[in-house]
Structure formats: structure tokens, C-alpha cells
Symmetry: C2
Subunit: 360 residues, 2 copies
């Protein structure tokens, strides 16, 4: 069959440009006589790939020299542990709770210190982002933690909390590389790669240098940012192929799309198509506070569970897969990450219009 | 150029059969309309792949039903922390020190409890395996730890220590799937995938069920075997593509090689070619105690550092790459994992003979 439009929350679509390049290089990378997967991570050939990946990420995101870029494993979920292990000095951090992924981070933080939850949108099923302009951060909080884009609910911070001298730590798993950001506003950014960066199994951490080196002596080596930074992410064997795929995705962003400003325009265009349709639909609606809408994850409901199920089934039959909402909230969700082409969204909207007409 | 013979200690060669299949399925897996890399880990399509991988591993290794198979991240190095976090009850374990990887395991274990080093081969640069028949294990040791094949030195346990009721925990990173083993002799087996199982970024843990569930309550979720087991290795997004590649490698072992008995014969044939040559060479010798020789990593030296360097350089120019020994021991090392074809070893031996003749 032809390729489907995959609206999965992650892992999700990769650019066909990237997949074709990876397929063509699978058996032999360049003139190396080997697949990237077979390369010793200590070889000059592989060092060139990881260096290219880091250099591209620094260019694309405009990352300052006072930040380290780490290529790690274990997903956002392991960062929920590594962050407090490395950043806690006074033993507590301020957290804003905007959904299941914040809650998981809070749970793991509370095993190692204390999470002070300053604000939460749980009262309305996380359908909005709390007003961050009115928060009083604890002066001695070791960091302020946010999940910037909430995959399950389709919300996103449009304004970052002004944490002054307290480092801002942010989970960007589902919005990294979707638009330009000012990295200097953050102390630490992390992201699982499997949405906008590449395959699952790679976690990227961008950390301000002054936040490195504070882990307790007994911290396991694999969980110590200092050791990872000192060894250029090669304290042990890194996920070599996933890093190569990330490098290809970054090539695509730089050379095919034209960088993050162009990516943002493309993403805004895609999201607008869906939100405009939803705002005018008599069947479907988006449950999110309009100013907090995510560019990446568009949630919608019909208000009728049976109709939702019918929609999901027929969408799949028509080549629009994984539009089912997260089991904790139900309804539908179209994740339209960077790799989703505009035609995919246009065709989904056309399908939704036809479905609405047929099921009035 | 044509494909090289890659003698890297890992990541290393993958079977061409596997790489060709992966290349052909990169853009679309079967009739799914998507790459495996793009699949939601919660989809039926992906569940079928991880289930197939586990079922094949259980068949190939003859793993009993009282063992769980976990697909994790972080390599052997993260297991050095997870094992004590999950298995320590009395706070100490007995360890046999056979090299750098045992020492790293000891270091991490000592952060969480105490390693009792019962025997070591450090006195002779780890060129042998200590006699394990004469060890007195501590009755209340939580486990006995070994690194079964020592990649750097080219040694391997031919007899396992008889630990009676104490669980035997073994790092099989560089020998798993190289020959049949009796899994029931172990409490826990672990292996980074990047030598005999697939690409870097996947760690396989085979753990007897009674060893699961002993972690302290405050153990980070990602480091708790119980949570990983209860969620079928999907507490968070697993390294989906690496698991698929491991499944292809297992297909190759089952369908192309004919299982681990056939694999063992093939590996013995390859190792014999090299050791026989080394034992008769006037230039090169293998520094390992003959009965402790590894089937997977064959170390050799000329005794002359300049000649070693010349050999490594000329070998590379002739398509035999990564034959340089580990920086901690010098000399040469040919890692001849499962995927190294017999012709690769035959040609290396022929090259060594010619080199010896030319440099008498």
C-alpha cells in the first residue's frame, strides 16, 4: 500500500526524505564499507556523524556556547530521575502541573526531594495552561519545572514563567524543533527524540554548564550529567544509529525546510487548517483554552463516544492512522509533528468534513 | 567500495541478510504504510514485532517460563546500577574481577552496597579466568556477579561458578547468542545488544521471576525491574527500532544459521582458524591462558609496538578494520562476533601470514 498519514503521538512520522536516505545508506554509509549501525562508536567515521549532529542542532536551535548538548538514553522518563539527581542542592523544586507527564515528573522528583506544585490545571482536565505571570517561586527552589507542550491534552505554554535566577527546566519532547525558541531562557531542556528528532531510544539534553557538576558523589555514573558531558556522550556506547537518524532529520530541517522559522510557518499553517475547521464544525470541537492550543497535538471530541469510535475506525480505513485520543481523556487527537506534510492535514480535514456531512 | 571486514569490539558487524531486509523495509514495513521507526509503540503492528522478538529469543536461548525478558536502555553500564538497586537485600554481593567491565560493575555496586571481590585476575593483566571451583561464597550474599566474556582481554568462563542457592548474575554482552547456554543456571543475564543482538541502544535482561519485586519503594521507576516487567518493557517508549533489528538478527539465527548449536560450530571454526595460526606464528601470539580463550574476541601481540602499529595500518588498508587492541592493553584484537563470516577470518589469517612473511 502507499504510505499512510500517521497522526500518532510518538513515535510518529519521519520525513520520507530522511527514510529514503537512511534506506540508501543502510548497507554502506558513504565509502565506509559498513552500515552506520556497525560502526565502532570510537571510530573517526562515527565521531564525524555525532559531531555533525551536535553542530547542526546547535545551529538550528541557536544554542549558546555555555550549554552542553548530551545524547542520552532512557527517554523523558529517565530524565525525571536524572534532573533531581543532578540539580537538587536545597532538596526542592517548584513545579507547574499541566498533565500526566508533569505528574510523572513530580512522582519521581518526590522520591529524591520535594516537588512544590505551584499551579495545576487538573481542575479542568488539563485543558489549559495556568497563568504563569502570577506565580511566587520559592527563592531557594533548585529549579522550576514545566512540561512545555502537553501531548495528551494538546496544550502548550505560549509564555514561559519568568523564573529570574532560578533555572527553568523544561520537557520539550513534543515541541522541540517545531519553532525557534530562546534557549538562553532555560537552564535545561530535554526531549525524547521520537516525535520531532528521530527514532525512539535517544534523549537529547541541552544543559547550561553551571548546572553540571552538582550531583552527589554516590550518583550512578550513567545518571551523572558531568560524566556524560566529560565523555562527549560516550561514557558508554551511545545509541549510535538513533543519533545518525537525528542528524538526518536535522539535515532535512536545515536543507529541505530552511530552518526553524520556516518550520514554524509550516506548522502554524497545518494547525490553523485543523483548528479553523474544528471552530466551525457542528460535530467536533477542540476542548482546549484557545490561547493555550498546541501546534503539535490537536485534540477533538464529538461529545458522543460511539460517534468517536466510528470516526476513528473510518479514519483508519482511509489511511489516517492513530487518531484515537489518549486512553485517559478519550476522544481524538491528531499529532501533527514536523514530519506530517501539509497534504496530510488537508486530507484529514476533508475527510472530517465528509464524515460530518455523512453523519449529521 | 565493497563491504569491509569489521573486527570492532562493538558496535560491530551485522549480517548482510539483516541489513538488506532492514533496508528493504525502511520506508514501508510489510503492508503497514509506515516504517517500523514511525510506528506507535502502542499499535498492534508494533506489538507483533516486540512479541515476535521475545518469542524468538525464548526459543533460540531456550528460556524457561520462570524468566522474564526485558527490553531496556542504557547498556550494560546502566545494569551495573539497576542490578544492585533491585537485587540487594543484605547489602552485599560476591564478585569475580576479570577486567575493566567487572571493575566498573564493582564501582557502581559499591555506591549502593558492598562488593566482596572473591577472586581477581588483575595480577596478570586479566589474561586468565580465576579458578571458580575453589571459591567460598558468602552464604548471605545477595548474588554472585561475573562478566562471562571479557571483550578487552579475550577471556571467557568455560565453567560457571556453582553458586548453589545464591543467584548468579552475568554480563553476557559479548557472548550472548554465540553458543547454547543453560539459562536455568543464572538468576539474571544481561547484554548490551551491540555485539551479537543488534544495534547499540538496546539492553536485554533475562531475569528469574523471584528476583523481581525486591527494589526499595523509592527506586526510580525507570530503574525498577518490577515496573519494566509489569509493563511488558513499555512503561515508557522502548527503543522500538533496535528491538525490530534484534528480531531480524534472531530470524537470521533461526532461519539462516539454524540455531545456537550451528552458531557455536561456526564460531568455533572461526576462532580455531585464528588461534591455530597464532599458536604457530613466530611473530604474533595470543596472551591468554589457553583454556580461557574467548570465542568472540581474539587478542594478539607481536611484542613490538611499532610492528603492531604497522600491522594495524596495513590491515585497515586491506579492508580489515578495527583490529587495534583496547587502549588499556595495546596490541591487536579481532572481535569475531556471530555476524563475522568465516571468509572474513580466513582472509584475515591469510593477510597475517603474508604480513609475517613480509616483515620477518
Amino acid at each position: 500500500m502507499s504510505r499512510v498519514y500517521n497522526f500518532s503521538a510518538g513515535p510518529s512520522m519521519l520525513p520520507e526524505w530522511v527514510l529514503k536516505k537512511a534506506a540508501s545508506e543502510m548497507i554502506e554509509y558513504g565509502q565506509s564499507g559498513q552500515s552506520v549501525m556497525e560502526m565502532s562508536h570510537r571510530s573517526a567515521e562515527y565521531q564525524a556523524i555525532i559531531d555533525d549532529c551536535e553542530a547542526r542542532l546547535r545551529r538550528v536551535m541557536n544554542i549558546g556556547d555555555n550549554y552542553k548538548v548530551l545524547f542520552l538514553q532512557g527517554g523523558a522518563s529517565l530524565q525525571f530521575t536524572m534532573i533531581p539527581m543532578n540539580l537538587l542542592k536545597n532538596g526542592h523544586a517548584d513545579v507547574i502541573n499541566t498533565g500526566q507527564w508533569s505528574k510523572k515528573a513530580i512522582k519521581e522528583l518526590n522520591k529524591l526531594g520535594k516537588a512544590n506544585v505551584l499551579a495545576s490545571s487538573e481542575d479542568k482536565t488539563f485543558s489549559y495552561i495556568p497563568d504563569v505571570t502570577k506565580l511566587d517561586f520559592h527563592e531557594d527552589a533548585d529549579y522550576v519545572y514545566i512540561c512545555e507542550n502537553n501531548t495528551i491534552y494538546g496544550t502548550k505554554y505560549k509564555t514561559l514563567p519568568d523564573t529570574k535566577d532560578i533555572p527553568l527546566v523544561a520537557d520539550l519532547s513534543s515541541c522541540i524543533l517545531s519553532e525557534p525558541i530562546d534557549v538562553s531562557k532555560y537552564g535545561l531542556i530535554f526531549a525524547g527524540a521520537q516525535k520531532n528528532m528521530g527514532p525512539a531510544g535517544l534523549t537529547v539534553v541541552i544543559i547550561r554548564e553551571d548546572l553540571i557538576g552538582n550531583a552527589k558523589e554516590q550518583t550512578p555514573s550513567m545518571l551523572n550529567y558531568q560524566i556524560m558531558a566529560d565523555n562527549g556522550s560516550m561514557f558508554n556506547t551511545p545509541p549510535t544509529y538513533a543519533i545518525y537518524m537525528c542528524d538526518l532529520v536535522l539535515q532535512w530541517i536545515e536543507e529541505e525546510i530552511g530552518g526553524l522559522e520556516a518550520m514554524k510557518q509550516r506548522n502554524e499553517q497545518k494547525a490553523k487548517l485543523l483548528y479553523d475547521y474544528l471552530d466551525n464544525s457542528k460535530m467536533f470541537s477542540n476542548p482546549v483554552n484557545p490561547q493555550d492550543r498546541s501546534l503539535m497535538n490537536v485534540t477533538f471530541v464529538s461529545g458522543d463516544a460511539e460517534l468517536d469510535a466510528k470516526f476513528i475506525k473510518e479514519a483508519k480505513a482511509n489511511g489516517f492512522i492513530n487518531v484515537k485520543g489518549h486512553r485517559s481523556v478519550g476522544g481524538m487527537r491528531a499529532s501533527i509533528y514536523n514530519a506530517m506534510p501539509i497534504e496530510g492535514v488537508e486530507k484529514l480535514v476533508a475527510f472530517m468534513e465528509a464524515f460530518e456531512k455523512a453523519n449529521q
